[in-house]
């Protein structure tokens, strides 16, 4: 009896002691952690007393109020119904490259697998500089040629045909890199093929030519408050005050992971086949497709034929092709011409020589990294690695800061910091801690990066009030936002003497944003699509950042040209600064081609000039379309800047765009291609059902992170408590039964 009692009391003691020790141990742990953190904070202050005190605040939050925006909520996860009913789509792409011009034909086959008459609406990307000039609708053996019309007119004709039961198709531009194909009256079990053709100049950088074929419009973050206009388009987002056409640029997204009785199955749709005929005009040393395995046929002189190793790939990541000339054969200048309607159009390429002097520049580098939900997965890993490489590349005398943004903007230091072992260590810790979640409120982050707060504090300035030679903002993002124009306005109005360099991250970056943001930011753009590219791509960017820039570039047309009244209209109007390895690329239209032209500029404080004879040159097709596309882009820029101004100016610009687009048969924001069959196919009694075609989630994206899930909201307290009780009970049982079990 006595013994039993003692067992009981000892167990009770044990329980109480254990509970207290467990609890207090935890409390002690917490205080230790607090103390250590405080110590760390104290270290920070002591180590850097000579610096501006304000700079020590790690992770100082800039008081930017979070703005309201739309996370990407509507998914077709729950609308499997709609997914199975919508027409399915196959895409076949044929790219012909001659010299520096690519002509691409995209064939979209809409299959109607249902017994109903259908309308299919597909939102898809094209290169941001694509000049779309042809639409053909194939119905069986018949081909109907598309006509270019003003947008509203084209829409009316399409709607009319749809009502009348005629097969019709419409290609509209939503953004320079987002287009919509609508096809009406696809009969039961019928296929309709929509053939779209576009031209584009090839990118030439650091002796490498490259071409990007985007495959999917990534889900975009839509900032702003919803405006109650309802759904105008077929997307998952409502229109907002900041993105008035949100419902047209957000196609429904298929959740790739389908939970089929707990066996997660990965599914993709919209298969793409792709082949390329490449004739660069010279022998190549290298052809590379970094994201898709390709087969390269035996070349015929300088012609190569290339196709995907897998006959079809899902439309969920951009296709890129890079090629290089044999050493010593890389072109330094090129001229392409084409005559059209008594005008001569040309595209001129000139690669300025690299400067021999390279002064040591003190740089202020502001890294801005997108940590929104769309960056989760491989993208954030790539961004972090790129950031770390860039941090290691900074030199004594440079200053830097890191800004991250998602729904909120957060800074590493309140003001840019001079390079020190300590500052770099903090930066590396900060980069390690980055996590991708939340929205993409880019505007406050852009403003924070472009605003030079270092100068306002006064304390950390040198005497001249400027403690750097160049100020560079390096912006890492996938650009998945819908309010591009507002962001471009911020860049243009707040740039000052900063330069903006965009790094497009991930499998389907927004090329329109990368390209234009860098243009308005007077910097350049780079893409990183997988881990293995980071090293080389960043190296190339570093060499650009550290080398002198060719600025103040002007073109002088010969005087005799002025006398002979040959009017030359060339684009771009204001020639951008050229970084190391970048060529000058201009498109011109004139009555007759001038014999030569002179280009002047400044590099590292010295004047540079080059004369170029405009004789011979390769006769090519597609040059007028490329010129017209550049003219439209220039007018669109002007329009964006004048959007709030009163009067005729906007109207004039709009008319200018429409006129250019109509005369060159180009799709633009205000013109669309429409093709209508003559004979009605559907009886009026039969209904036509309209479906938005779903698109894939870009490869590597995490559906949960983008389209949110209801958050998990249970602690493991109950579980821990339960486990604890179980163990105590087991211990007690053991104590009571030890004689029987162990015979001791």
């Amino acid at each position: 009896m006595k013994q039993k009692n003692s067992i009981f009391t000892s167990t009770l003691h044990c329980i109480i002691a254990g509970f207290c020790s467990g609890f207090f141990f935890n409390i002690i742990m917490i205080f230790t952690i607090m103390l250590i953190s405080d110590r760390l904070g104290a270290d920070t202050l002591e180590e850097n007393l000579d610096d501006d005190l304000l700079n020590k605040q790690i992770a100082e939050v800039r008081p930017e109020k979070a703005k309201q925006g739309t996370l990407l909520f509507k998914t077709i996860n729950n609308l499997t119904h709609d997914y199975t009913l919508a027409p399915s789509l196959d895409t076949d792409v044929h790219i012909q490259i001659r010299g520096m011009i690519a002509r691409t034909t995209v064939k979209q086959t809409f299959h109607n697998n249902s017994a109903d008459w259908q309308e299919g609406i597909y939102v898809f990307p094209l290169p941001e500089n694509a000049a779309v000039d042809h639409l053909r609708m194939h119905i069986g053996d018949r081909i109907i040629e598309g006509q270019i019309k003003e947008k509203q007119q084209a829409r009316r004709e399409y709607q009319q045909a749809k009502i009348e039961g005629k097969r019709a198709s419409l290609v509209e531009q939503e953004r320079p890199n987002i287009f919509t194909t609508s096809v009406a009256n696809i009969g039961p079990d019928e296929d309709i093929i929509i053939e779209i053709t576009y031209q584009q100049p090839v990118r030439y950088q650091n002796e490498t030519f490259s071409l990007r074929f985007p495959m999917v419009v990534a889900p975009r973050y839509i900032p702003g408050k919803t405006v109650v206009t309802g759904f105008e388009g077929t997307g998952w987002s409502l229109n907002t005050d900041q993105v008035a056409d949100a419902s047209r640029i957000t196609p429904p997204v298929l959740n790739p992971v389908q939970d089929l009785e707990n066996e997660a199955e990965h599914r993709t749709i919209n298969p793409v086949s792709l082949r390329i005929d490449l004739d660069a005009g010279f022998l190549l040393s290298n052809i590379d497709s970094p994201y898709h395995p390709i087969d390269i046929g035996i070349p015929d002189k300088t012609r190569y034929s290339i196709q995907l190793q897998h006959s079809q790939v899902p439309a969920n990541r951009d296709f890129v092709l890079d090629w290089k000339a044999e050493p010593g054969n890389a072109p330094r200048a090129a001229l392409f011409t084409e005559e059209k309607d008594a005008d001569i159009y040309s595209m001129i390429m000139l690669l300025p020589p690299a400067s021999e002097t390279s002064p040591v520049l003190h740089r202020e580098v502001i890294f801005v990294v997108d940590t929104s939900g769309s960056m989760s997965g491989p993208s954030i890993v790539q961004a972090k690695q790129a950031l770390k490489l860039a941090l290691n590349r900074l030199k004594p005398g440079d200053r830097f800061n890191i800004i991250q943004f998602n729904s909120y903007t957060d800074k590493l230091f309140r003001f840019p910091q001079a390079i020190s072992h300590h500052a770099l260590r903090q930066a590396h810790l900060y980069v390690d801690s980055l996590e991708a979640q939340g929205g993409t409120e880019m505007a406050p982050a852009l403003s924070a990066a472009l605003l030079k707060q270092g100068n306002k504090s006064g304390a950390n300035n040198n005497n001249d009030g400027r403690n750097y030679d160049v100020r560079q903002v390096i912006f890492l993002t996938d650009g998945s936002i819908g309010n591009e124009d507002a962001l471009f306005n911020i860049i243009q109005s707040q740039l000052g003497d900063s330069r903006l360099f965009t790094i497009g991250i991930g499998s389907a970056p927004n090329s329109h944003f990368m390209n234009r943001a860098a243009k308005f930011g007077r910097g350049t753009y780079t893409y990183i699509g997988n881990i293995s590219e980071i090293q080389t791509k960043m190296e190339t960017l570093f060499s650009k950042l550290e080398s002198p820039v060719l600025t103040n570039i002007h073109i002088q047309w010969p005087e005799d040209c002025a006398k002979n009244n040959c009017v030359v209209e060339s684009y771009p109007h204001n020639i951008p600064d050229l970084y190391l390895g970048e060529p000058l690329l201009i498109s011109t239209k004139s009555d007759s081609l001038p014999e030569s032209l002179t280009i002047t500029g400044e590099i590292a404080g010295e004047t540079w000039s080059a004369a170029l004879k405009l004789k011979g040159g390769q006769k090519d097709s597609g040059i007028p379309a490329i010129w017209a596309r550049k003219r439209i882009a220039a007018l669109m820029d002007k329009m964006r800047q004048n959007q709030n101004s009163e009067g005729d100016e906007v109207e004039q610009l709009r008319n200018g765009i429409i006129k250019t687009a109509l005369s060159h048969h180009l799709v633009s924001k205000y013109t669309s291609l429409v093709a209508v069959d003559v004979t009605p196919a559907r009886l009026k009694e039969a209904l036509v059902k309209s479906h938005a075609l779903p698109v894939n989630l870009p490869e590597g994206w995490d559906h949960k992170k983008v389209f949110a899930q209801l958050p998990a909201t249970a602690t493991n307290a109950s579980l821990a408590f339960f486990n604890g009780l179980l163990m105590l009970l087991a211990g007690l049982l053991l104590l009571l039964t030890r004689k029987h079990v162990f015979n001791v």
């Binding site: 109020k65 408050k225 979640q437 939340g438 307290a717 821990a720 604890g724």
Partner: protein
């Protein structure tokens, strides 16, 4: 030989089992203690916020900050709401979902909280219950509970913006499940009751 081995192993078990058990129970109480304690610390940070400071971090290394105060007068509930509904902020208080409307803004304000700590009271909430949210500027906004429902975690349509000003409170379901991580969620949906009252 084997008898000494048995003795030793028995002793070890008799020490290890209760200790581990206590550790588990201690960590369970720690979760609750932290949840209660943090709310006290947050009080000061929220006061500063209402008085015009922005994104006041309650402790130096916090990665979240208070953005609203939630009151249910009928149940005597008073909680400081934090920015973001990640695990690290939910440990200290209910979290406001990034991207949903801020209290006082038009649309759907979504707040999530742990079912066993800050949002345990949701199971007692009835239709018609009054809920108050204080906005960053100190304004009080009143909501009236219109429905409570149980949904699957994938039903994200409840997060979508609404034209009517709505407050959506989310917690896990069932309330007394021992294991965390189940797929069900308990939603309290409240509609704005009155125009804003300034305080």
């Amino acid at each position: 030989m084997s008898s000494t081995f048995k003795k030793i192993s028995l002793k070890v078990l008799l020490i290890v089992l209760p200790l581990c058990g206590m550790w588990q129970i201690g960590s369970a109480s720690y979760i609750h203690a932290k949840a209660i304690l943090a709310q006290v610390l947050l009080e000061t940070a929220w006061d500063k916020t209402v008085h015009g400071q922005q994104e006041v971090k309650p402790w130096p290394w916090a990665d979240t900050w208070p953005i609203s105060r939630l009151d249910v007068p009928g149940l005597g509930i008073d909680r400081i709401v934090l920015a973001g509904a990640s695990g690290s902020s939910l440990a200290f208080g209910p979290g406001h979902l990034f991207g949903s409307s801020l209290p006082g803004q038009q649309g759907n304000t979504v707040i999530a909280g742990h079912r066993d700590t800050h949002f345990r009271f949701l199971k007692d909430i009835q239709r018609g219950e009054l809920i108050q949210l204080q906005s960053l500027t100190g304004k009080m906004i009143q909501y009236k509970v219109s429905e409570t429902i149980i949904v699957d975690e994938k039903q994200t349509e409840y997060l979508a913006n609404t034209s009517e000003n709505t407050l959506t409170l989310i917690t896990c379901y069932p309330f007394d499940a021992i294991r965390p991580g189940g797929p069900l969620r308990y939603l309290v949906i409240a509609k704005q009751h009155k125009p804003d009252i300034s305080t």
